[in-house]
């Protein structure tokens, strides 16, 4: 029993240390922002890595997400809800929930893992120490550009994802569900609130911050060679995904 309590205690202390570590890292990122304004090239490079290179994967995911949501909604509507509301259901589901969350999960898998692996490898091969000996602080140089790129690119990817997912739903509705273009589009417009789009983009902004911060933090925590890099990469993806889902709930309960 004493061993169990000691184990729980150690885990709790370690958890608090990590939470504190993440906030200290965020504080250092905020402090470095003025320096970053003079080195915007670093941010642009990361925006390309995180945003442009993730675009094909996000678009493929989105088109099928939209298509599936149209099929699922039509199946649940049958005989109970008029099909003119299909556009409404697809639009609401995509803009509020599926667009931001699925985009974030896809980016967490692709970009979060890549950030943790890259910084983790730099840590175990002494490249981070090399930067420090050149009097270059790794936080402004490596973390801040990734953080800002995450904040900027997730909302942009989400807007694109929303659009493509709705197009996917629209295409399926027209081709396979015998719904006219006019019916789908009028349903889409019927209960459209701009507030929903804003809520989706706020989620995307938060998720972008989570993915880049957790990826960088786990990268910096890496110890012990290739095995350690693998462990950090896995942790970065798992923790980011869990935090995205928790964040989704928190934002939804605050906004709606």
């Amino acid at each position: 029993m004493a061993n169990l309590l000691a184990f729980i205690g150690r885990k709790f202390i370690s958890f608090i240390e990590h939470v504190g570590g993440v906030f200290v890292l965020l504080g250092r990122v905020l402090k470095s922002l003025p320096w970053l304004f003079g080195n915007l090239g670093l941010v642009v490079e990361q925006m390309s890595q995180m945003g442009v290179n993730s675009l094909p994967l996000v678009l493929i995911t989105s088109i099928f997400t939209g298509a599936v949501s149209a099929i699922q909604a039509a199946y649940q509507f049958q005989d109970f809800v008029p099909m003119r509301y299909l556009g409404t259901a697809v639009g609401k589901a995509v803009v509020i929930e599926l667009g931001p969350v699925l985009t974030a999960l896809v980016v967490a898998g692709r970009v979060g893992a890549s950030i943790a692996a890259e910084l983790g490898t730099m840590k175990v091969t002494e490249q981070l120490d090399a930067l420090k000996t050149l009097a270059i602080d790794p936080v402004p140089f490596l973390v801040s550009p990734r953080f800002i790129a995450g904040l900027a690119m997730l909302p942009i990817l989400t807007i694109m994802s929303d659009f493509i997912a709705i197009m996917g739903g629209y295409t399926v509705a027209l081709l396979f569900l015998d719904i006219t273009s006019n019916t789908f589009l009028s349903g889409l417009k019927m209960f459209f609130h701009f507030r929903d789009v804003i809520a989706g983009l706020v989620k995307a902004l938060v998720f972008g911050g989570i993915i880049s911060t957790i990826g960088c933090y786990q990268g910096f925590q890496t110890k012990g060679g290739a095995k350690g890099v693998g462990r950090s990469t896995t942790k970065a993806v798992v923790i980011s995904m869990v935090l995205i889902l928790i964040g989704d709930y928190v934002i939804a309960s605050l906004v709606f």
């Binding site: 091969t125 002494e126 490249q127 120490d129 090399a130 000996t133 050149l134 009097a135 270059i136 602080d137």
Partner: protein, 248 residues
């Protein structure tokens, strides 16, 4: 001048440095020898604040750095250049970008001036025209020389060499030795070299200190080391498996 007083450092139960005292004089090449894993790299990382001591003082040019904040340590590090054991080149950058990295972020030099400085430092280490290569395209010896060019790019006062000849063939190891001696002669750099390569140590050192069980147990010239009757030093110099140092 660097002065280290009563330095202690432990990692868990492993007491790596145990009341170590050491002075590095201006302009000299000080070589620290000792077995692998005895704490040589840990010691030099303390000198530039990459590792914080548990106890003791590190004084660089009269400035006690032990309790310096991170910002102050970054200012201090501009006095230093460091060649890492693995060279630690940033693999996302070319050779030229690696060498010019410090210049780009710490000087007001324009792009052309940085390129000129990078060219001259690469020429100094015998790698002219290699600016556009990626680190992955270089041999071990070339990586070390690029690491050295990067370390001296900002004209530092002190250069730390962490195992500069480890993993190199004897000819390339001697090329690195000659480079260290040439840089000290031509640029009046204070060099601190960590190695377990006795041939290299005796060739380049003005002074050799031996680190054993967390303390400096010997300090003298290369001749003093070779003539030493200290059984620990003798065993290490001869590379003998029998003696007071037990193989682990």
């Amino acid at each position: 001048m660097i002065k280290i007083v009563d330095l202690h450092k432990s990692f868990g139960e492993n007491h790596v440095l145990n009341g170590l005292n050491l002075d590095v004089q201006r302009g000299e090449t000080m070589v620290i020898i000792g077995r692998s894993g005895c704490g040589k790299s840990v010691l030099v990382k303390h000198m530039i604040g990459l590792i914080r001591p548990d106890q003791g003082q590190i004084i660089v040019d009269g400035d006690e750095i032990t309790n310096h904040r991170e910002e102050e340590l970054f200012r201090l590090r501009r006095k230093f250049g460091m060649l890492f054991q693995s060279a630690a080149l940033l693999d996302s950058m070319t050779v030229g970008e690696n060498v010019g990295l410090g210049l780009r972020y710490h000087t007001s030099l324009d792009k052309e001036a940085i390129q000129e400085r990078v060219k001259s430092k690469l020429a100094l280490v015998g790698l002219s025209g290699m600016e556009c290569l990626e680190p992955a395209e270089l041999s071990g010896g070339m990586k070390k020389r690029v690491g050295l060019a990067r370390a001296i790019a900002m004209d530092p006062k002190y250069v730390i060499y962490d195992e500069p000849t480890t993993g190199l063939d004897p000819i390339m190891a001697d090329v690195i030795n000659e480079l260290i001696m040439r840089l000290q002669r031509e640029l009046s750099i204070t060099s601190i070299v960590v190695t377990h390569d006795i041939a290299s140590a005796t060739k380049i050192a003005d002074r050799i200190s031996m680190l054993h069980e967390g303390k400096i147990i010997f300090d003298g010239t290369a001749e003093d080391v070779l003539r030493s009757t200290n059984p620990i030093v003798e065993q290490f110099i001869k590379g003998s498996a029998t003696g007071p140092i037990k193989p682990v």
